[in-house]
């Protein structure tokens, strides 16, 4: 017997901050900071993101010859990089959150409905998840954006496609495994409606797994949004999105690297933090979810 067997097992208890590794704490701090900045964009941003100053174009950030007027420099139209980053962050994070929520809610509902109704609906839903697995959401999104045209609602719906099929499978699997258990039969025997059975009794069984799935999915949603915006198919100027800023900054790499690199850094660190947090959460809460 090795000594490690006698170590107390770490447990996830609310308030047990010590049990969280330093790395995860850093991730959470970063994510929290990004959330706060996104929420308070109007208050903390030094300038409006569209304010141009053509006399101050391509100013470098502090440390590369810049000054405190524009701590992160300016872009090709003399707009303050810091302000634009803050607003772009707000756009990207909001779209990713709304998209993740829509995807999670719709996917879960479809999965529940497929499991409860079975039959034709189930068949169609499962075929659709098969198609979604085979076809990356980027192509589906591009098809719609190309043929139907772009608007914000459409764009958010397309972004929410990322990963919906994973929620659907999770929810359907749970319904099928729990449907014939005595407690579901008992509750149905009490006269409970299907909605009550699903939301009061089935959903709580799966909520932890869904949260983990949403956390793991979030980076994918951000990447889908920023990729589309980068390609010029998503958020349109003069609005700012992290992907769009990067796409615009690409043209000035030689003279003004910061226009592209700064938003790229923000995206990368955010998705990295979310991925690490999601992995950690999965291992903590539900070691069986997400394994192939």
């Amino acid at each position: 017997m090795s000594a490690t067997d006698f170590r107390p097992k770490p447990q996830l208890v609310t308030g047990a901050v010590d049990a969280i590794p330093l790395m995860i704490k850093l991730c959470l701090i970063w994510l929290g900071a990004m959330m706060v900045i996104a929420l308070l964009a109007d208050v903390i941003s030094p300038q409006h993101y569209t304010t141009q100053d053509l006399t101050a174009r391509f100013r470098p950030p502090l440390g590369w010859g810049g000054d405190w007027d524009h701590p992160l420099g300016t872009d090709n139209l003399g707009r303050d990089m810091l302000s634009r980053l803050i607003y772009a962050l707000r756009t990207s994070i909001l779209i990713a959150i709304v998209g993740t929520l829509i995807g999670a809610v719709c996917g879960t509902l479809i999965g529940f409905a497929a499991g409860r109704l079975r039959g034709f609906f189930d068949l169609v839903a499962m075929m659709l998840t098969g198609v979604q697995t085979a076809l990356p959401s980027l192509f589906i999104a591009i098809t719609f954006l190309a043929f139907v045209g772009n608007n914000l609602i459409m764009f958010i719906i397309l972004v929410s496609l990322e990963g919906w099929e994973r929620y659907a499978r999770l929810a359907r699997g749970l319904v099928l495994s729990e449907q014939n258990s005595d407690y579901i039969r008992a509750v149905e025997g009490l006269g409970a409606t299907s909605g009550r059975v699903v939301f009061r009794h089935l959903l709580p069984n799966i909520i932890a797994a869904l949260v983990v799935q949403a956390t793991l999915n979030f980076p994918g949603t951000i990447l889908l949004e920023t990729s589309l915006s980068f390609l010029g198919l998503g958020i349109q100027p003069p609005n700012a999105s992290l992907g769009l800023m990067l796409g615009e900054g690409r043209r000035y790499l030689l003279n003004a690297w910061w226009i592209a690199v700064l938003p790229g850094l923000v995206i990368s660190v955010t998705t990295l933090a979310m991925s690490l947090f999601g992995d950690w959460l999965r291992d903590r809460l539900d070691p069986t979810v997400g394994r192939q």
Partner: protein, 314 residues
Amino acid sequence: MQSLIAIFFRFLRAVFTLMFCVTLVFVVLRTAGDPAEQLLPPETPPDVIQSYREAWGLDRPIFLQYALWLENVSRGDFGTSFASRRPVLDLVTETMPRTLLLGASALFVATLLGLTLGIAAALRRGTFTDQALMAGAVLGYSMPVFFLGILLILLFDLQLRILPSSSAKTLTHLILPTVTLALPLAGRVARFARTAMLEVMGRPFIRTAKAKGVGRLMVILRHALPNVAVPLLMFFGIEIGLVLSGAVVTETIFAWPGLGRLLVDSVAQRDLPVVQGVILMITAIIVLSNLLVDLLHAVIDPKVSMARTLGGGA
């Protein structure tokens, strides 16, 4: 017999997926508006549009139009690009090999790099090396492809001036796009390989081989690796789609004249016949490579493949 049934089901699913996507494009096209106006250049005179409408059978019932559409698509007739006035099929067949070259070289690099790092991490499980490698892997696939590409351009083209970053004139032009596309994939492969390797290394036959005094490298090459190959194959089946969507972005950054760049350019110019052709072609590539992986799997491991096919999930 079992593998035959499994193959049959896989085939059925591939056909369904393909049909679904073709139908989806048809439906999106029709709901978006009059295809004659959509697919013809904006400056086309009304009487020409009307004649095309009749030629394409747009005045006929919708299910006949659908049948006609299926027939055209199956003949590879996606229409004519109104940007270049060339048949879409020509444009697609011209650019596709470059995308396949990029994708294949990225897959190769990613597998080599990912497997090596993943196995190295598995063998040093729990050490700092393991943790660092895995953190690197997460970083690899968390970083957006377009940002990675831009960093590589900044470093190797603009700063060091040792590698070209635009167009596809020589083979050295392939290096930066390949690395850009391969790194995120390598991160995923490394994580996957580590998990698969740890699982295999825990099995009794590996322990027996070790106990018999077989050298470590031999254990890995002869016993562990072949057993990791099957799950890895399945993994690639899933990743093909992601490689292609990564290729769209990568090709755009490096001006690599492949399918992805054609797609993005066509969308920007609203050259819809080309968009439609590229999307269908990419769908076909994904579905066919998935089918190939499935068939290989069904042949190598009929029982498991069968269970996966009939068991519901994908």
